[in-house]
């Protein structure tokens, strides 16, 4: 997991100069998608349910890195040792971007999270494209529309489950001014109906804090996360998000997590249960 910023950076700096960076797993979408969002992964990730690529590389543990040049394996090993092989492959490999230069604005907007702008830039550039550039434009068009459909679907599911703020967060990038994504009007009208609901402001405020608490949990700051969950229960009382916060806080207590210290040899590094000395006696 510590490799993500490095891989993101290699991709962001290198893709315009011909490099391709891919993270590969065989795990289900239900695990991979939230993992990508939680870790801000910006480089390409692929789920390969067969193990052909892993067999070619000879994976013996995770993570394992491999460097290919023109589809032929050049090196494999620990990610921290990939530098030399990668440098050689890059020198020998193509130096032009895999994506067409003419789609530069589209890709920049997409990678910068400007989803509405990315699609309008694509439609602006499409009439001027031909050959493989036009083929790539079609691939990006399909990809972006598919992503928007997934985001709207997920948004609707989150709202249904009582995570209003998260639902809003998922849909919003595709709902900018003059958005050309499918189902924009329908999604906007669902969100407008949600805003009319009593307790909307409390749900949203509580939802913002819930996201903050989840981040603290990921950083293993369980005591701080617990405090935020309690704050949600107090400030957004009688809302769906307060119910989720209570369940999350209870789960922290049940797992003895508040007070966990990574540097303590007696705290359980697997379950993140704090040892008796560090355990915080927190109550709901």
């Amino acid at each position: 997991m510590g490799q993500i910023p490095h891989l993101n950076s290699e991709w962001e700096k290198g893709n315009a100069k011909g490099l391709v960076v891919i993270s590969v797993t065989d795990e289900p979408v239900e695990l991979v998608e939230p993992w990508i969002a939680a870790n801000n992964v910006t480089h390409p990730v692929v789920i390969l349910s067969d193990k052909k690529l892993e067999d070619v590389i000879g994976v013996a543990g995770f993570p394992t890195s491999a460097v290919f040049l023109d589809k032929a394996l050049q090196w494999k090993g620990h990610p921290s040792e990939a530098g030399g092989a990668l440098g050689s492959a890059r020198k020998a490999g193509r130096s032009d971007s895999m994506y067409p230069k003419k789609l530069g604005k589209v890709i920049k907007a997409w990678n910068g999270g400007e989803r509405t702008k990315a699609l309008s830039e694509l439609y602006k550039s499409m009439p001027k494209l031909e050959g493989s550039d036009l083929d790539w434009a079609g691939r990006w068009d399909g990809f972006m529309k598919n992503e928007s459909a997934k985001a709207f679907q997920r948004s609707s599911e989150m709202i249904e489950a009582g995570f209003w703020f998260r639902g809003l967060q998922l849909a919003q990038p595709y709902l900018g001014k003059d958005s050309e994504y499918p189902r924009v009007d329908e999604t906007r009208s669902h969100l407008a109906m949600m805003q009319e609901e009593p307790g909307y402001a409390k749900e949203i405020k509580g939802g913002e804090l819930y996201v903050e608490a989840q981040l603290l949990e990921r950083q293993r700051e369980y005591l701080e996360a617990f405090k935020v969950y309690k704050k949600i229960m107090k400030k957004s009382a009688d809302t769906a998000i307060a119910g989720h916060a209570e369940a999350a806080a209870k789960s922290l207590i049940d797992g003895y997590k508040p007070g966990f210290k990574e540097t303590c040899p007696k705290c359980d590094r697997r379950s993140h249960a704090a040892c008796e000395k560090h355990r915080e006696n927190v109550k709901l």
Partner: protein, 61 residues
């Protein structure tokens, strides 16, 4: 640049002798058929032609 290990080279010869229709050479990147992609439109083998590709095999746990 490091070369492909001897094992791969000898295995390639063995396979070539045994089966003239071998679809894939050892050490060669297999295709991504049926793959699910994130952060990019689906990539194909043709997209990798002539390029340096850094692959990291990971698990979310």
């Amino acid at each position: 640049m490091k070369t492909i290990p001897f094992f791969f080279a000898s295995a390639a010869l063995t396979l070539a002798a045994a089966s003239p229709t071998t679809a894939q050479e050892p050490g060669a990147m297999p295709d991504f058929e049926g793959a699910t992609w994130f952060n990019t439109p689906a990539l194909s083998m043709a997209d990798m032609e002539g390029r340096a590709v850094m692959v990291e095999v990971f698990r979310t746990w």
